[in-house]
Amino acid sequence: MIRAIEKEISQDRRAFIKKVLGGTIAGSLLLVIPAGAVDLTGIPEQIPGMRGDTAPFITKKKFAFIVDITRCIGCGSCCVADKNEYKVPDGMYRTWVERYVIDDEDNVYVDSPNGGLDGYQEPREDIPHPTRDTFFVPKLCNMCEHPSCVQVCPVGATYQTEDGFVLVDSKRCVACGYCVQACPYSVRFINPETKTADKCTWCYHRVRKGLLPACVNVCPVQARKFGDLNDKDSEVYNILHQPHVVSVLKPGMGNKPALHYVGLRREVV
C-alpha cells in the first residue's frame, strides 16, 4: 500500500518536473518570437490609413464592398481564397459565385455547383433555347445597415460594430439558427465544427491590419472591390459617386446593404 502511494508521488513529481520544464521552454520561446504580432512591415498597406488607427473601432471610415458583375469571369478564385482563409466546412459557403444564363425566351437559369468553388470550366449545355445573355454573380455578406440577423439574435451574439461590420461572437452564440432564417440573402449557416452561426466577415481581421479581404486580394479581374467611402480617392467612392449602374440585392427588404453591385440585372435575386 505504502509502496503504491510512494510510486504515485514519484510519478506526480516526474509529471510536475516535466510541466515546469515545458513551461520554461515555452516561456523562453515567447520572449524570442513575439506572439500574435505578425510583422507586416514587408507587406504594403492596402487600405490607406488603417495601420495608424489603433482605436477599438474604425469610426472615421465607412466601408463599402462593390462587386462588378460586368467583370466577373467565374474563375472561383475568391471562393478558394475564402475557403482557405477560414477552413469553411464542405457544403457551407461564406461566399459563392452564381452563373446566370438567360435564353431568348427570357427564361432564367441559375446554378452554382459547389458554390462555384471549382470555377466554371465548361458552359451549360442543357439550355433548350439559344442563349441571350450570361453573367456571373458573386455573393457574400451584405453587411446591412439594418441587419435582420442582428435584430433577431436572442443573445446579442450577432452584433454590428461601430464601423459597420456585422460579426458573430462564437463564444456567445447558442446556434438557435434564427439569424440563418432571418437573413434575406442566405449568407449564414451553422458551422458544424464550432456549432455556432458563421458567415462572411469581409475579412475583418485583415482589414484591421490594413489588408484587403482575401477574396478581393485574389480576384484576377478586380471584380471585387473594397474600400472607404470617406476617402474621396478610393475606387469605391468614385464608383458610387459617378454615373454607374449600381444597385443592391433585394432593396425591398429595407436592410440597406453596404454591398453594392455594378451592372446588377433585374433577374438577380
Binding site: V155, C173, V269
Partner: protein, 400 residues
C-alpha cells in the same frame, strides 16, 4: 422527349437553391416546439372556460386540463434545448437578452405562464391536497405538505379567498396563454425574409390551431383514460368540448385557407415560388394530408357531432377519433409551416428536400421520446393530483 419529361427537365433546370439553403436548419425539434406549446395553451383555455367563463358542463375536465397543460409545459423547452448547438448557453437568452429579438421574449413569457399555471393548480387543488395529506404517510405526506404551501386551513373564509385567487389567476392566465402561443406564431411571422412565414395572420393561425389542439387533446385523453380505467364519462362535458372544438376549428381552418388564398389572390412576385412549393414538395403533406384528410373530414364530422342528436357511444367513439385526427392535423400544420417554409429557397427559384432520419440528434426517435415524456409525466402527476372530482367524495364536500 415526351412533353412531361420536358416539363420535368425545365423545372430541374430552373430549380436554383442558394447553396446555404440546401440544408434545412430548423427540423423536427422546431416542429414539435410550437406543437407542444400549442397543446399547453389550448388545454389552459379549456380550463378557463369553466373557471372564468363559468361553462358549468366543463367542470369535470377543468382540473384535469390544468394538470394536462402542466405535463406538456414541463417539456416545451425540451425540443429547443436539443436543437441548440450550445444548450449550455441557453440561459443567456434570459440573463442577457437582446431586446430587439422576437425570440428573446419566449423565456420570460414561458416562465411567467408556467408560474401562473403552477399557482393555479396549487390553489385549485389545495383543499384536495390538504385532505390527501391527512391520510398520507411518509414521503407522500411530506410532498403534500409542500404542495399545500404549509397551510391546512380549509375554512369557508379561506376557501373563499382561494376562489378569488383562482379566478384572478385564470383571468390573467387567458391573455398569457394567448400571448404565449400568438407570440410563437410571431417568431415565424416576423421573419420578413421568408415569404411563407411573413404574414400578420401567422400569430392568429398559431393561436387558433393551439386552441384546437388543446381541446382535442383534452377530449381524446379524457375519453381514453376514462374508458381504460372503466370510469363514468360525462357525455354533457364531451359534447360541450366537441362544440368548442368545432367552433375553434372553423376559425382555424378558414384562416389557414384564407392565408393561402390571400397569397394566391394578390399574386405578388412571391406567389410563383409559393405556388411551386404548395403544389410541389408540400403537395402530399399539405393538400392531401393536412387539408384533404385531416381538415375536411373533421370539419364535416364535428359539424354533424355538434348539430345532430347522436347516441352517446357514437359521440364518444367519433368524438375521440376526430380529436385524434385534429391532433394530427395540427402536427401536420406545424410541419408544413416550419419545414415547408424552409424548403423554399430565398432565391425564390427553387426548393430543397428534407427527409427526417430515424436515428440522429434531432431525428424521429428523439421526437417520439420527447412526445412521450409529457404523457409519462402526466401519469406521474395523476398519482399526486387526482384528475377527477368523483375520486374524492370527502373532498368534494369541502371544495364545493
Amino acid at each position: 422527349m415526351s412533353p412531361e419529361h420536358g416539363v420535368a427537365a425545365a423545372t430541374a433546370l430552373t430549380n436554383y437553391v442558394f447553396p446555404n439553403d440546401i440544408h434545412v436548419h430548423w427540423s423536427l425539434m422546431i416542429v414539435l416546439y410550437p406543437y407542444i406549446t400549442g397543446i399547453v395553451a389550448g388545454a389552459f383555455i379549456v380550463s378557463s372556460l369553466y373557471h372564468v367563463f363559468h361553462i358549468e358542463s366543463l367542470k369535470p375536465v377543468s382540473r384535469y386540463a390544468l394538470v394536462f397543460a402542466l405535463a406538456f409545459v414541463a417539456f416545451a423547452t425540451a425540443p429547443l434545448l436539443n436543437h441548440l448547438g450550445h444548450p449550455e448557453r441557453a440561459m443567456s437568452m434570459m440573463l442577457t437578452p437582446n431586446p430587439t429579438s422576437a425570440m428573446a421574449g419566449f423565456g420570460y413569457i414561458y416562465s411567467a405562464y408556467s408560474i401562473v399555471l403552477i399557482l393555479e393548480i396549487l390553489f385549485i387543488y389545495r383543499p384536495t391536497l390538504v385532505a390527501l395529506k391527512q391520510t398520507a404517510t411518509g414521503f407522500k405526506r411530506k410532498l403534500y405538505g409542500m404542495l399545500t404551501l404549509g397551510s391546512d386551513n380549509v375554512s369557508e373564509k379561506s376557501l373563499a379567498l382561494d376562489h378569488k385567487i383562482i379566478a384572478f389567476l385564470a383571468a390573467i392566465g387567458i391573455p398569457m396563454a394567448c400571448t404565449l402561443h400568438g407570440y410563437v406564431g410571431f417568431i415565424f411571422g416576423g421573419v420578413k425574409a421568408n415569404p411563407m412565414w411573413a404574414t400578420p395572420l401567422m400569430p392568429v393561425i398559431f393561436l387558433l390551431s393551439a386552441s384546437v389542439s388543446g381541446i382535442a387533446g383534452i377530449i381524446f385523453s379524457y375519453v381514453l383514460i376514462k374508458t381504460f380505467t372503466g370510469r363514468f364519462i360525462d357525455m354533457d362535458c364531451v359534447r360541450t368540448l366537441i362544440k368548442f372544438l368545432w367552433g375553434c376549428f372553423i376559425l382555424d381552418f378558414v384562416f389557414e385557407m384564407l392565408e393561402l388564398f390571400s397569397h394566391a389572390y394578390m399574386a405578388t412576385h412571391h406567389w410563383e415560388a409559393l405556388r411551386d412549393l404548395y403544389f410541389g414538395p408540400l403537395y402530399s403533406t399539405f393538400w392531401i394530408a393536412q387539408v384533404g384528410v385531416f381538415s375536411v373530414i373533421p370539419f364535416v364530422a364535428l359539424g354533424i357531432l355538434s348539430l345532430v342528436k347522436l347516441p352517446d357511444g357514437v359521440v364518444k367513439f367519433f368524438g375521440s377519433l376526430i380529436s385524434l385526427m385534429i391532433l394530427v392535423q395540427v402536427l401536420l400544420m406545424r410541419w408544413n409551416v416550419v419545414i415547408g417554409g424552409q424548403l423554399m429557397s430565398k432565391s425564390e427559384r427553387g426548393h430543397t428536400v428534407f427527409r427526417p432520419e430515424w436515428f440522429e440528434k434531432e431525428g424521429i426517435m428523439v421526437s417520439i421520446v420527447i412526445m412521450l415524456l409529457p404523457i409519462i409525466f402526466l401519469y406521474i402527476l395523476s398519482k399526486v393530483f387526482p384528475f377527477w372530482l368523483d375520486d374524492e367524495p370527502a373532498v368534494e364536500k369541502q371544495s364545493a
